[in-house]
């Protein structure tokens, strides 16, 4: 049973995502479109399964949801902060800095989500990954305390992502 399920749905979350995107693209919900969305959601992951060798194991959808809410809130706060920096801090007083964040996460998907989150939140852009993937290079727009920013990234985002991709 599980083998048949794995064979038919190699990536259940991708199936769900494709079906939802298809229904949203139609802009109206009708039974036919839902069925067609599910058909697409089954066929596309099945045909492209060769290029997706690993399914992320033990993904917690509920925790991802609360994480997304937190990140959206952080994005709003971050935007006001960055807008304030742009408008009030003169160039001469700006203190940009590089930060190296040592990574405890190992899964590529988790690191991708972390890097995306860092780019979208308070004054930070993730710039590069080290050649073996053990640390992340982050650029900060304006900070007095680079170590504090690094610790905040580790406790606020990485610790939660570790639980999500446990």
């Amino acid at each position: 049973m599980t083998r048949a399920f794995r064979w038919l749905l190699p990536h259940p979350f991708l199936t769900l995502l494709l079906a939802v995107v298809w229904i949203l693209l139609q802009n109206q919900i009708s039974a036919g479109m839902v069925v067609f969305g599910i058909i697409l959601g089954v066929i596309i992951p099945w045909m492209t399964a060769v290029w997706w060798p690993d399914t992320p194991q033990g993904f917690h959808l509920g925790k991802m949801f609360s994480y997304s809410i937190m990140v959206i809130w952080d994005i709003l706060v971050a935007n006001v902060q960055v807008a304030w920096i742009v408008l009030t801090v003169p160039n001469a007083k700006l203190k940009p800095a590089w930060i190296v964040v040592p990574l405890d996460l190992r899964q590529p998907e988790a690191i991708t989500v972390l890097a995306g989150t860092i780019t979208l939140t308070p004054g930070t852009v993730s710039a590069d990954l080290s050649d073996e993937g053990h640390s992340l290079l982050v650029h900060v727009l304006h900070t007095d305390d680079p170590d504090g920013v690094r610790d905040e990234i580790k406790t606020r985002y990485e610790a939660r992502l570790k639980e999500i991709f446990a």
């Binding site: 960055v82 807008a83 742009v86 040592p102 979208l120 004054g123 710039a127 053990h134």
Partner: protein, 128 residues
Amino acid sequence: MIEIILTYAVAVFLLIGSGFAIVGVIGLLKFNDSMTRLHAPTKVGTVGIGSLLLASMLHSYMLGETSMHELLIMSFLFVTAPISANFIAKVNIHRRACDTPPSPPRDDTWSTLNVPEADRALETIKAP
């Protein structure tokens, strides 16, 4: 009554969105370093466009033909904005257009600076 509230809400979201967009442009013009320039458009632009899309959604709801496409635009934007920012940052590092980043603690070098021996000669010509 509800229409009046919605009209004002649309207007407020349009103003917020265009306000953030203009702050993003100001940031792009004001900062004088290629890495700091990256910050203003990536973040401020995201919320600016998000707010404009929210106004568009509310307006279509008011006209009685609810549109969900804006949700898709927003989610694609949130997924792609970090990637373009990351690529611009990588180009800056590669061309040495910014301060040299500190070396990583556990590995040898950053993946952008990890140039194979055979390409080292090309590398020196490209640097400004």
